[in-house]
């Protein structure tokens, strides 16, 4: 296996490991806010590693030649979409969960007092 293939496989394995860890975190953690931490990490960290591996595989070739393909661009677009806009859904979910649990979204004096 060439060093390039080894690096791509390592990135892919790191990404899949992140995703599996995030899925287990969503299962184990209690409450929507703790689960959202893991769901958000799955949208950013794992997607970044897997996207990097596939884009590198699609664009870099033997001898260091770079060839931008349609597939590579589509993967880049999909991963960038998840990476950049995923946190927006996470923030909206957290605000909605907060509103359902405690009526106002703003910090209460008691929470301000204890710092969390």
């Amino acid at each position: 296996m060439s060093p390039f293939n080894l690096a791509v496989t390592a990135l892919l394995a790191a990404g899949v490991a992140c995703e599996v860890l995030c899925a287990l975190g969503v299962l184990v953690m209690r409450g929507p806010f703790q689960k959202l931490h893991y769901a958000s990490a799955g949208t950013t960290v794992g997607a970044f590693f897997i996207g990097l591996a596939i884009v590198a595989r699609e664009t870099l070739h033997a001898g260091g030649a770079v060839e931008v393909s349609a597939g590579g661009l589509e993967v880049l677009a999909a991963v960038c979409f998840m990476f950049l806009l995923g946190p927006a859904v996470t923030i909206l979910t957290a605000r909605t969960a907060r509103r359902l649990e405690h009526e106002p979204v703003e910090i209460t004096p008691a929470e301000l007092e204890r710092g969390s």
Binding site: T9, L12, A13, G15, V16, E19, V20, C22, A23, L24, V26, L27, G31, P32, K35, L36, Y38, A39, G42, T43, G46, A47, I50, G51, I54, R57, E58, S69, A70, G71, E74, V75, A77, A78, V79, F81, M82, L85, G86, V89, T90, L92, T93, T96, A97, R99, L100
Partner: protein, 83 residues
């Protein structure tokens, strides 16, 4: 069977814990798990396309990522009306 197909299998298997949360958790917990399900599905589609050497399939993953994001917004919007 190459590394991409193995990765896709692991990603699809990782959907199972999220489905458990969707079935047993509260509404907001289920939405959090559903968001991760969408991410896992998109990444699994990317790995499957690479594993089968079909560049045209990357378009499916791109469409999936957009629809998952829109779906997440819609679910959260309507979940806010539950109270």
């Amino acid at each position: 069977m190459n590394v991409y197909l193995i990765a896709a299998t692991a990603l699809i298997a990782a959907i199972a814990p999220c489905l458990v949360v969707c079935a047993r958790g509260s509404v907001m917990e289920a939405i959090a798990a559903l968001e991760l399900c969408g991410t896992l599905t998109t990444l699994a589609l990317i790995c499957l396309a690479e594993g089968f050497h079909r560049q045209a399939y990357f378009g499916v993953a791109l469409v999936c990522s957009v629809l998952v994001w829109i779906g997440g917004l819609v679910f959260v919007r309507f979940a806010g009306r539950l109270k």
